[in-house]
Amino acid sequence: MKYTEDHEWLRVEGDLVVVGITDYAAKELGDIVFVELPEPEAMVAKGDEVVVIESVKAASDILAPLDGEIVAVNEAVAKNPALVNEDATGEGWFFKMRIDDLAALDDFMDEDEYAEHIA
């Protein structure tokens, strides 16, 4: 698992990257009540706002971590946003994307580096 400075986690699954937010982020946001997912098959550029999440406190944007194509979205979190709080790094994933080169993931933080980032 890799991590962005914006508290997203990235997990390689075959030739795809699965993206969600970390437990730390979910806890900081508080109870999540609304998730708006991107259109599957959308082409996105790194830094694009691709997911909107609304918690009881505020709205936040989730940014595309890399250039690529959204190939799947998790309709379960749109139906039940609380999944993000309950299982942020598992059932609470947001989307899967295809990127040109999985080696680009090497630039992100590993678990220890992320732990230091939020310490």
């Binding site: 508080g30 109870d31 609304f34 708006e36 909107v52 709205a59």
Partner: protein, 375 residues
């Protein structure tokens, strides 16, 4: 920016797992370990304890030593009918300015020989200045040696009644000063959640003991500022600085009920408060805009600042959201805001612009959830 002031019970909040945030110049518990959603639902189902010690407590005395004289004087600053406020009762009021806008909203209690006021934290300094300038003949005494706790929810009467026998006999907006462990408590049966409940002013020396004794009662959990906001939003209660401000009149705000009958045109003490002309005109002809409830379609909250439109495309904004979020008890987003009076009828479809897109939202009556006050 000055350092945020610390609550007298800060240590208790930290022990209870509170997350502290700055609010109105104070460091406040925004939530505890349970989180906003659970805290909100708990307060509706059982009992919530809130530390609202940041709010301003003020005693107002006339030289005569009669509350009625202080009330008569205070009527120069508020449109409420305070002369009819009986001893042992509390009433909601607003300070108005010369333009008929609201400077703050407050509670006024008649305690026989003086009035006791509770004002918003962020306006306390301005309110004291306004009282001193406007009422030179009265003694204005800020109360600095007391904490203020609110106990709200269907279990509030039982929880407080176990410590202070007699509170069960109080009605909504009654005030009393019973003793507990040697300390005089200043209790009102009121709150800011739409639930039955009490606000309890307690001397600092006994505040921790009282909070702990209440938390030890079955069903009582601490509730933070986050849930306080969603509770009051469901109850349709406006928040100063968001739903009320110096440009907004009490009539626009739907608070015309706080303008006493005797203070209106033709009444025995008509006018005599700042901005009386505008408020009388709006009472007679209706205001240009009104505060309304708003039910967004779908699940996305419409928050403060969202522009409201009469049409799905084109046209100028017809109003804006002033408070909005997710309503845990209704399991849906709700909001309140101001719209042109012609658009303020319940059921009127409007559109709110969220992230660049106009989303449907319907005007709805307030409150969203009926209050359970013990009248």
């Amino acid at each position: 920016m000055a350092e945020a002031r610390e609550l007298p019970l800060k240590g208790l909040h930290l022990r209870l797992g509170a997350k502290m945030v700055p609010f109105a110049g104070w460091e406040m518990p925004v939530q505890y370990a349970a989180g906003v959603l659970r805290e909100h639902l708990h307060c509706r189902a059982a009992t919530g304890l809130f530390d609202v010690s940041h709010m301003g407590q003020v005693i107002l005395r006339a030289p005569s030593g009669r509350a009625a004289d202080a009330a008569a004087a205070l009527e120069a600053l508020v449109p409420a009918d305070l002369l009819s406020l009986s001893e042992g009762r509390q009433r909601y009021a607003v300070f108005t300015n010369a333009a008929g806008g609201i400077e703050d909203d407050l509670m006024v209690a008649n305690r026989g020989d003086h009035l006791f006021l509770i004002v918003n934290a962020g306006r306390a300094a301005a309110d004291l200045a306004l009282l001193r300038a406007g009422l030179p003949g009265l003694a204005v005494e800020p109360v600095a040696d007391r904490a203020l706790l609110a106990l709200q929810g269907p279990g509030a009467e039982a929880a407080l009644g176990a410590l202070v026998p007699g509170v069960a006999g109080m009605r909504f907006m009654d005030v009393a000063r019973p003793r507990w462990q040697g300390a005089e408590l200043w209790i009102s049966r009121s709150g800011y959640t739409g639930e039955d409940g009490f606000e309890v002013s307690v001397p600092l020396a006994r505040a921790l003991a009282l909070a702990e004794a209440l938390l030890a009662r079955e069903g009582v959990l601490p509730i933070g500022l986050g849930a306080r906001d969603s509770l009051r939003l469901e109850a349709g209660l406006p928040l100063y600085g968001h739903d009320l401000d110096p440009a907004t009149s009490p009539v626009e705000a739907g608070l015309e009920w706080s303008v006493g009958r005797v203070r209106r045109a033709g009444g025995a003490r008509a006018g005599g408060f700042p901005g009386a002309a505008r408020i009388a005109a709006e009472l007679a002809a209706g205001p240009a805009r009104r505060r309304v409830g708003l039910l967004p379609e779908g699940r996305a909250p419409m928050r403060e600042g969202v522009a409201l439109f009469a049409e799905p495309a084109g046209g100028a904004a017809a109003g804006a959201v002033t408070s909005g979020g997710f309503a845990p008890s209704l399991d849906r987003p709700v909001a309140m805001g101001y719209v042109a009076a012609a658009l303020a009828g319940a059921g009127r479809p409007l559109w709110g612009e969220v992230r660049g897109r106009r989303q449907p939202v319907a005007v709805a009556p307030l409150p969203f959830r009926p209050s359970t006050y013990k009248r």
